[in-house]
């Protein structure tokens, strides 16, 4: 098991997440896909830090920050989605592509 395994796994998760972001219509589902992508990044970060002596703590610390930001992002995004649902009655991204309503 070497670094490349983790990188491939990370790439796979990232691509799946990207597909989700591009192809989904529901804002909630897009959010979930973004979470997948963030986790792919985290895998990469930690894998690199684990395989590189000099970066031992850096990767993990940055991963902690990524998780923090992810949590903040989910909170905000969900608040926006709820607001959107209240004003538009829908969370379909394709329906809310106009800039004003």
């Amino acid at each position: 098991m070497s670094l490349v395994h983790f990188q491939i796994l990370s790439a796979a998760l990232f691509s799946i997440g990207l597909y989700g972001v591009l192809a989904r219509r529901s804002a909630v589902l897009i959010l979930l896909s973004i979470e997948l992508m963030l986790n792919a990044v985290n895998i990469n970060l930690i894998a690199f830090s684990a395989y590189t002596e000099s970066l031992a703590s850096t990767g993990q610390v940055i991963a902690i920050f990524v998780i923090t930001v992810a949590a903040a992002e989910v909170g905000l995004a969900l608040a926006i989605i709820i607001n959107l649902f209240r004003s538009k009655g829908s969370v379909d991204i394709d329906k809310i592509d106009v800039m004003r309503w």
Binding site: G20, A23, S33
Partner: protein
């Protein structure tokens, strides 16, 4: 999800841990695919949880125990539940028949392409790096509160701002 994590901590011999790695990876990827292909939003959320718990297992394999636990706590305990709350509040069941949009084929191509590119790049750059550095829990804490003290404070500020922002945004909608 539980047993895989348990065996993951054992990771000493390479071949055995490779098997464990493959099992967890399959769980991760299958969960991820489930998230993007499932037609039911709630199912998608639970599959995301499965996938993220798999990621926690990967963290264990990488000897990042603290992060694995953080992953379980934050994603399992907080994010999934908040997402479930929102799904149930916004009655997203209406999307069962139209979860995907017209960009589907294009998105599929892009994703596959990206995956191929990244994999090729990773394999090409693979220098057989097998030095594995384990990190002690206390060292992580130490570096977090010394070298990274300012980013840490900034991150907590970000969280606070996001918290307040979320409350304000969702309150605004209520008044209308």
């Amino acid at each position: 999800m539980g047993s895989t994590q348990e065996s993951g901590t054992e990771g000493g011999v390479l071949t055995e841990s490779l098997v464990v790695f493959l099992i967890i990876s399959v769980v991760c990827v299958a969960g991820g695919l489930g998230v993007v292909f499932s037609r039911n939003v709630i199912h998608a959320t639970f599959l995301l949880l499965v996938s993220l718990m798999g990621v926690a297992g990967i963290f264990l394999l990488l000897l990042a125990e603290f992060l694995a636990l953080v992953q379980v706590l934050i994603y399992g305990g907080a994010i999934t539940i908040v997402v479930l709350f929102v799904i149930m509040l916004t009655k997203s069941d209406e999307f069962e028949s139209l979860v995907d949009n017209s960009q589907k084929p294009l998105a599929f191509l892009i994703s596959i392409g990206l995956f191929v590119v990244m994999t090729v790049a990773a394999i090409a750059a693979d220098n057989g790096n097998t030095v594995r550095a384990s990190l002690k829990f206390s060292d992580l804490g130490h570096s977090l509160f010394t070298d990274w003290a300012i980013p840490f404070e900034v991150a907590s500020l970000v969280l606070l701002v996001a918290l307040i922002g979320a409350i304000v945004i969702s309150k605004q909608g209520e008044e209308e």
